[in-house]
Symmetry: C2
Subunit: 143 residues, 2 copies
DNA sequence: GTTGTTATTGATATTCATTATCAGTATAAT
DNA sequence: ATTATACTGATAATGAATATCAATAACAAC
């Protein structure tokens, strides 16, 4: 299976909403896609600034929201920590085991759970679009 | 099965932490336990104020955190909505189907999913303590 | 009961992520 | 080229959550 071109998805979303293409958006989507996952707005802003000094924090924030809206990023918010954005494209959906002590997280996946969730929604006449499963506890090193 | 006395749990927690008993704490835990679930700090503050005018917002907030800490409340935070606190005592754990349009939520429960989560954690050498499963989508009326 | 220590309260200030504002600029259709 | 309008970047505003602090209250020790 070929990974869909994330950048194309983003540009398509922009166009479909009647928004405009700008070099800032290009820079931001490129930086986001090539960076390691789980970035905060602040962190992406730092990266983008190194490439193109002068891009505003608000611009990065706004566009990160667009990236999330078009499905290329998931939001992870743990307690009062800053929101983090993780790329979804080319990756299967996964849930998180979050350590309450060291704040690390492990990505996990279970098809059976996914299927049960579908059925659970169905049984309640609910159309499921996305979901978030977070298991909090202690990791191998902290338990 | 007899529901454990939530108020005793709270008072025990206070004592165990070397904190002190106050009439404000009593008022707040009483109001919280007798209120319908899913309250925001603001809403509980309004209720408490009606019983004892003069109790400060910060006091309600602080004590709601203690109530959460001792396991009597779960936190629900949907998007940018205000954090809500829902009583856990005397109720089985449940997950949420959250409507993206009307913001309503349906409480659901599935033992099979719970069990799979346990196993998932185990497989990763992770000690699960609590978890949060939220399925976002469209409810019966909004789909 | 008195005293001393210290947690608590309530009012307010602070913090901090996120969103809104807005003038100037850039984009893209005609 | 013209024109309408979305975008940017700087900054202000928002708002929930937390911190601060002086006055007060709880409670253990005596």
């Amino acid at each position: 299976m070929i990974t869909p071109n994330a950048k194309e998805i983003f540009r398509g979303y922009i166009k479909a909403k009647g928004l405009r293409h700008t070099w800032q958006r290009d820079t931001i989507i490129d930086a986001f896609l090539s960076a390691a996952g789980h970035l905060t707005v602040e962190e992406l802003f730092q990266i983008v600034t190194r490439i193109h000094p002068g891009i505003g924090y608000a611009t990065v924030h706004r566009n990160l929201n667009l990236i999330r809206e078009c499905g290329l990023a998931d939001e992870i918010k743990i307690g009062n920590e800053k929101t983090r954005f993780e790329p979804t494209c080319g990756r299967t959906h996964h849930d998180h085991l979050i350590c309450l002590k060291c704040k690390c997280f492990i990505e996990v996946n279970n098809n059976q759970i996914e299927q049960l969730q579908e059925r659970l929604a169905e049984a309640n006449d609910f159309l499921p679009l996305r979901h978030k499963l977070e298991i909090y506890g202690l990791c191998k090193n902290c338990r």
